[in-house]
């Protein structure tokens, strides 16, 4: 936001990042599985703030229908869910990570092309870690960057050590969010 925008109190909700790095996951997961002993949790979700308009509902319903049709071929299960903060999740289940990436991208593109890109928040992939709690990789749609999120045992506790290690391990594969204060957790993700 520029000086004049501040002065006049103008703001826009940012659109998805121009450089889309969602597909980085379709190669990064191979490194995760072969080099770092992690396996896909078989689930991925995209979270957005549904807009209460007929137009939005139609675009989302169309996208879901297409996804279910293609999902029947690839074996991807589609689920839609609202979380307790009023955000909508489209959760896909498929053992094949590449199918997950393609499916999530379909929803993301449909909303973006429909003009609702600014509503998109994040994409989340779940991975199982050997001898540890599950890790999540979160893709911030607005910034086009990834970051890890590893919940620890207690309530609202994160395993920062594991997160920073994952960042170091995957820095060359996933474009990572450099500002740690933007590693926003997503508690209670339905996947």
């Amino acid at each position: 936001m520029g000086f004049l925008d501040s002065l006049l109190g103008r703001s826009r909700t940012p659109k998805p990042a121009k450089q889309d790095r969602l597909f980085a996951m379709s190669t990064a997961y191979v490194t995760l599985e072969t080099a770092h002993g992690m396996t896909s949790g078989g689930k991925a979700g995209i979270v957005f703030q549904a807009e209460a308009t007929a137009d939005f509902a139609r675009i989302l319903a169309d996208a879901e229908e297409v996804l279910r049709a293609t999902g029947a071929e690839t074996g991807t299960d589609v689920k839609m869910e609202d979380d307790k903060y009023g955000y909508r999740w489209v959760v896909l289940s498929d053992p094949d990570v590449e199918d997950l990436v393609v499916g999530i991208n379909a929803i993301k593109d449909a909303l973006d092309v429909g003009g609702y890109g600014a509503r998109l928040l994040a994409v989340v992939f779940r991975f199982k870690r050997e001898g540890g709690r599950d890790a999540y990789f979160i893709y911030n749609v607005k910034r086009g960057l990834w970051y890890p999120f590893v919940p620890a045992g207690g309530e609202q506790q994160r395993d920062n050590e594991a997160e920073l290690r994952l960042k170091a391990q995957l820095a060359s594969e996933l474009p990572m969010e450099p500002e740690l204060e933007r590693w926003f957790p997503l508690w209670g993700a339905p996947l």
Partner: protein
């Protein structure tokens, strides 16, 4: 039809904001000229005020929060509030501000801090009790818009010369009244200019603050796309605000510009108020909702 296009920035509001800032600049130039014309004492006062200004910009956040009795809370202490703010931050692409809670039944919220990275959002326990999650989200988005628009910095800078004028007035009353020998005609002129600057800038600053409330409401609607939830929150807040007396909050007028709604606006004249009347804000939010629903009339937005 693509209905999700960004909400129209109300041209009238922007023009009024620019005009107000321009007028403040003119008024302040007169003061600066008078300061220099009056010689050493004027420049000395300006230097003291400059020091105060820097102090205010850097220390106001902490001091203000402490004075109000607001406590910073960790994600473990207030998980829902943190989660709500985090999601809004992702949506608006803002770094996360500090989160504070004030223990009072008065429903209110405010934002402080000189930059996006050094900001605090504070809510009262009262507002969390009476608002639904969607309404609270609207209020938080309004506060985040204040941070995004750098309202604290804008208002602090804008009030800088007004506070110099007020210092000169006090200085004049204390030292100018007694003996006439050290009272140069230059100082008398400075005193008069300061008086005019103080009065005029007071009205202009109130107007600017009101415009920035509208802008923050619009910013909130941009983030959540649910202006009706914010309207409903404002109605709930204004409904209970006058019924629950909380002397400590009302007394604190310096902070009033940063509240979501000004405590007890009923008897205050529009011209003096830092916040627009509730019904005007609600009407503006209704027009935004009409834009989002695609039912807006072709007429441009007034506010």
């Amino acid at each position: 039809m693509n209905r999700s296009a960004a909400l129209k920035a109300p041209a009238g509001l922007q023009a009024r904001m620019l005009l107000t800032i321009f007028l403040l600049g003119v008024v302040y130039l007169a003061l600066i000229a008078a300061l220099f014309a009056s010689g050493a004492s004027g420049v000395f006062i300006a230097l003291i005020a400059g020091g105060l200004f820097v102090f205010q910009l850097f220390a106001a956040e902490k001091l203000g929060l402490r004075a109000m009795g607001a406590e910073e809370v960790s994600p473990r202490e207030a998980p829902e509030l943190h989660a709500m703010i985090e999601r809004l931050c992702v949506q608006a692409d803002l770094p996360k501000p500090k989160v504070a809670i004030m223990r009072t039944s008065m429903p209110n919220a405010f934002a402080m801090g000189r930059s996006k990275k050094a900001a605090t959002v504070c809510v009262t326990t009262g507002i969390m009790e009476i608002l639904s999650p969607a309404e609270l989200e609207g209020v938080l988005a309004h506060e985040l818009s204040h941070i995004r628009h750098r309202d604290v910095v804008v208002m602090t800078i804008v009030s800088f010369f007004a506070s110099i004028a007020s210092m000169i007035l006090q200085f004049g009353f204390f030292f100018g009244g007694g003996s006439d020998d050290d009272d140069s005609p230059g100082f008398l002129a400075l005193f008069l200019v300061s008086l005019i600057v103080y009065v005029v800038s007071f009205f202009l600053m109130s107007a600017l603050s009101r415009y920035r409330e509208f802008a923050a409401d619009r910013g909130a609607a941009e983030i959540t796309r649910r202006p009706s939830a914010l309207s409903s929150a404002l109605m709930k807040i204004s409904g209970t605000m006058d019924r629950i007396p909380q002397q400590d909050l009302r007394a604190n007028s310096e902070l009033a510009a940063f509240y979501i709604a000004r405590p007890s606006t009923k008897s205050v004249l529009n011209l003096f108020s830092t916040h627009p009347p509730m019904d005007k804000r609600i009407a503006a939010l209704e027009r935004l909702e009409a834009q989002i629903q695609g039912t807006a009339a072709a007429t441009p937005l007034a506010a």
